[in-house]
Symmetry: D2
Subunit: 354 residues, 4 copies
């Protein structure tokens, strides 16, 4: 019963196999190999346009490099006040953007809205030398409350961003889960809705360690090769990233893995909703379940071996906070979550014997 994080999952067999094949071969170093070239071509195909894509080994690296590429040191990045980039990356975006400022915007469900962003923007008058200047808007897809922006919502934020001279960045650590959830095409979810640069995650969804920074306008990526190298994020044996991404994109593996994780989460969420005493803090839209339930029951689950995290968030609905006998927890499903884990968890949540 392991629902602590999709970072604790293993790796998909198809991806492991690709690593094994690459391990038998000699290949040019520093991302000049055929696997990387195939991965890049695969991303252009997936997004239905020529993109500039750069593989790295970590999500924090991808986000920090992406934001650093579109934000000058005197710039501001706007994001939800509980976004991963502002809260969980130990200041990496600030480092890669040369000391820029990340500005948190409040809002239900870890979601930005045009109104909340516009209100925050008012504190950063254009051209004022006293104030850092708006440079980027960053949204997480799926986000930190497990919610998914629709392409229409993304497009509204994209329009606002561009009207204010900002780039739109999407932290897609769970991009596949978001797409699998809402059925939009990769293109509709990104550049057709104004996304300028995407952190395209694979690690949480079955890879060993692989993310892509995707620029939809390759001209914006002119210096990115240097930025990646300078950040220490260019792998010498780059083929091992290329092989992972190439396998991940083959025949829709990425969407299949995500759909599997989402289905597990949906089952878990439905089961909890049907269990007296439990309710959801946010709708379950992708592969994460934010559940509120009796603290004692969660304690019993932990004793029975279940792994998950207590959660704190300011992004609840006004009347949605747990009462003092309740706890809010986060339950994450991954591509390798097993049916019996869910069944056992639900049975125990319902008060069943172990």
């Amino acid at each position: 019963m392991d629902f602590a994080s999709d970072n604790m999952a293993g790796a998909a067999p198809e991806i492991l196999e690709a690593i094994g094949v690459a391990a038998q071969a000699r290949a040019s170093a520093y991302a000049a190999d055929d696997w990387t070239r195939r991965a890049e071509a695969g991303l252009s195909e997936v997004f239905e346009r020529p993109v500039a894509a750069f593989l790295v080994a970590t999500g924090t690296g991808a986000n920090a490099l992406a934001l650093g590429a579109v934000t000058p040191p005197w710039g501001a990045v706007f994001c939800h006040e509980e976004a991963h980039v502002i809260d969980d990356e130990c200041g990496a975006p600030e480092m890669f953007a040369g000391g820029a400022k990340l500005v948190g915007v409040p809002g239900y469900g870890a979601k930005l809205t045009p109104a909340s962003v516009a209100e925050t923007l008012e504190r950063f008058p254009f051209g004022s030398i006293k104030t850092v200047q708006p440079a980027a808007l960053s949204i997480s897809q799926a986000n930190e409350a497990g919610l998914v922006y629709s392409p229409e919502e993304v497009a509204e934020l994209g329009a606002l961003a561009h009207a204010n001279g900002m780039a739109l960045h999407m932290d897609g650590a769970r991009f596949a889960n978001a797409l699998a959830a809402c059925g939009a095409t990769p293109a509709a979810m990104t550049w057709r809705s104004g996304v300028d640069v995407l952190s395209f995650g694979a690690t949480k969804n079955g890879a060993v360690a692989c993310e892509a920074v995707v620029f939809f306008d390759p001209a914006r990526a002119k210096a990115f090769g240097h930025q990646r190298k300078r950040g220490g994020h260019l792998l010498s044996k780059g083929k091992f990233l290329g092989a992972q991404m190439d396998a991940y994109l083959q025949d829709g593996l990425w969407l299949r893995l995500a759909a599997r994780a989402n289905a597990s989460a949906a089952k878990l969420a439905a089961g909890l909703i049907a269990t007296p005493g439990f309710r959801l803090a946010f709708p379950c839209e992708a592969n994460e379940v934010f559940a509120i339930g009796p603290s004692a029951r969660f304690a019993a689950l932990r004793e029975a071996g279940a792994r998950f995290y207590d959660w704190t968030t300011r992004a609840l609905a006004a009347d949605g906070a747990p009462n003092r006998r309740e706890t809010l927890v986060r339950l994450v499903c991954s591509f390798d979550t097993r049916e019996e884990e869910i069944a056992k968890f639900l049975s125990l949540a319902a008060g069943g014997a172990r």
Copy 2:
């Protein structure tokens, strides 16, 4: 006939297998897993003292983080003027050290000597506010000319560094090759000779992507967890680094792989020395051969499919430069260099038919 770089090699089967095992398991994220713990313990054992070790995926990341940890923004790092850290990392050490200065020191064979370092130090008077302050000395082992510092040489530089308030960093991207070459113990080559922080490489020597930053005084690493995370170099599925390093250290695999690469290089070097028209630019001490020979012969080798790089260096002996019909090339052997590659190369070098 692939002698272009040990970065173009594959991966050792033992390491691949360890990745495969880790892929079947759930494990705590962010380096809190058992594989990582075993790797850390393994490094402490190898170095015969408790070390603070941090795994990362790239050598540039390891070097930049290590130098950043011991160098303030107003500090200077002294290294050979052709060191990897000053020439080939696109300013990563400068970035991670907040804009510190890397200062190149000239010298034969890419080697620092106490005299050359001392002479350079004179330009950086202690306490002068106009001048960045000496903070670190960095040496490569094996170095950029394929040479190996003896423990005695390291100790002399360590004493000089410490006498001037500098930390001694060793860029050990080819540390295993250096050790296998000279037979010193890891402890003798490092902390017993004054090394404070080591970039312990595995990638070039059979890993997929794995390096360790090793602090011999764990107190010096207090903030390093934050520095690594902030640099985007903490892998979420950290077990995959742990598994590589753990396998690498098991039963001396790392030294066996390095010995194999060194033996290949020795054979290649000996063969070239015995071939009329060829000579070595530097003695072959580890897994790299710097050879000078007829340009036409190298061209023919390339046409026959051999891969290697022409080389430029200011670190030759006074009378060692190629004449105008000659070319200096670098030939690198790795753990998976095959006997027949060497034999064919030597045969062609000697003017034999393909």
Copy 3:
């Protein structure tokens, strides 16, 4: 009728004269001159202990250097969400602290309280590698709402800061006004209450361009000479800063100038309170008056030549916001505000003819 800013004032004759005297003399460059030495000694005397003091030409420079000296790149600086350091310095503290994070804390009257700081601190768990680590607490004295922290309030914040491993910084751009207002000694207001580093302002209070960064524990300032030089903030003809600060401290000039500005503000505030239709947004405690009044009346004042800024703040009391016919304005008095400016302003505010 110039109430726009104390930055728009002239300079005190005593300070100008000191500059004139220094201009006749040759003196060692880079702050090694006798004027600077006297200024440093004067600050030690004023604060009743040996301090390490460094003169610079700007308040933003002083704040950014001071915060940079006590905050690592992976650190967080806590301050009021409308503090000058977070809102009005275009990211200078972030730059000088290598990309650290400034975290805004809400609260009435631009004031931090132990409770509001403690609540914010909970989001930054000690030791978590995902989170930047608390490094400094910064308070403005007098603050952005014109309010003054009492020594007791400072001491409470100092205790909280130190208990959480943070340094306490005081942005004293209007330090003299704060002291003149509450009568505390410089020592009681700073190090006796836990202040570690102070930006000691003179510019707004009669100097041409002069601020001091004061470390109450000189050991903390060991690298500061390099940090100042590296920031470009060491004046070559340092005597001209020394001369200003020396004159500023002579015979209590600094407190006399501040008392004059405060008295003007008090008179202006009292007059407005007595004028039907006007009220204060915050008590007038130093040299700034935040007044709410009929928008039409302020428009008329402007037409009559009065200079002042409309103000926006989230730090009002719950019931304190202007209604839709009112405007909130900031009126600043300086050492050279003239009686007749105040009288004329009040007369016009009361609806009198110009």
Copy 4:
């Protein structure tokens, strides 16, 4: 007999007077005042084209901001290996350029030549991701050996810079001395010869503390207001910089002051050349004299009260080094050097009684 530095001089009466006038007036803060506007207009007039000019208080600030404005973090700035920007600014340019690399180029008389720059550039192949990319060329005028680049020499370097995608920066801390020495127009010496950005110094030449960063293509300065503010280099009472620069440019004061300093240096140089035992290390072209003479004689001069620095340089002609009984010293004249100082120095140098 004060020849230690032009930084030890006083200030010109005309400039002091302007400060005094500004001190009587209220003026908009942050460089939005009339004095600053006049100074900016004055610079456009002097350079015969509309320039974007920004006043700051220090030369290091001016250089660091200027180089930071034209150099990305992954860029390289080429300069003479003994340039002030690389040797004497404690890494300020690196800080303001986000960790860029300064690369020293050797050469006689602290001068860059197209050949020496081109040779160094070869080590930084265009487009290589391993290597920082050439971004700026920086020359000092007059330079660190007291020599002056002719407009033709500047133009050659400008052409080389532009052909390699680099901006040309001129460190004009002694720009007035250089112009006064060679008679070229400010325009010919700068933008007409390819200079993109100039640090235009006034401090060493009679100001209290004032330098301008001058962009000849104002479009290049779009973000510079933010960069200056963020660096803490925007003075709140900006009128005091404006007043200095305005007075400095009035009626050619700046060139008259420089001509006076140059004439003093010429007299001193001529006198030393005529004194047996002395010779010049470099021709005296501006206001600095680099003299080699008997160590005992220099010691006697110091005992008699003369102030000057012993000098070390690698930029001597091959046969120009002092022998073991000789010392190389630097003697700097300023606008307020007095006839009798020179006369006394020469008399003592010649062995005369004090």
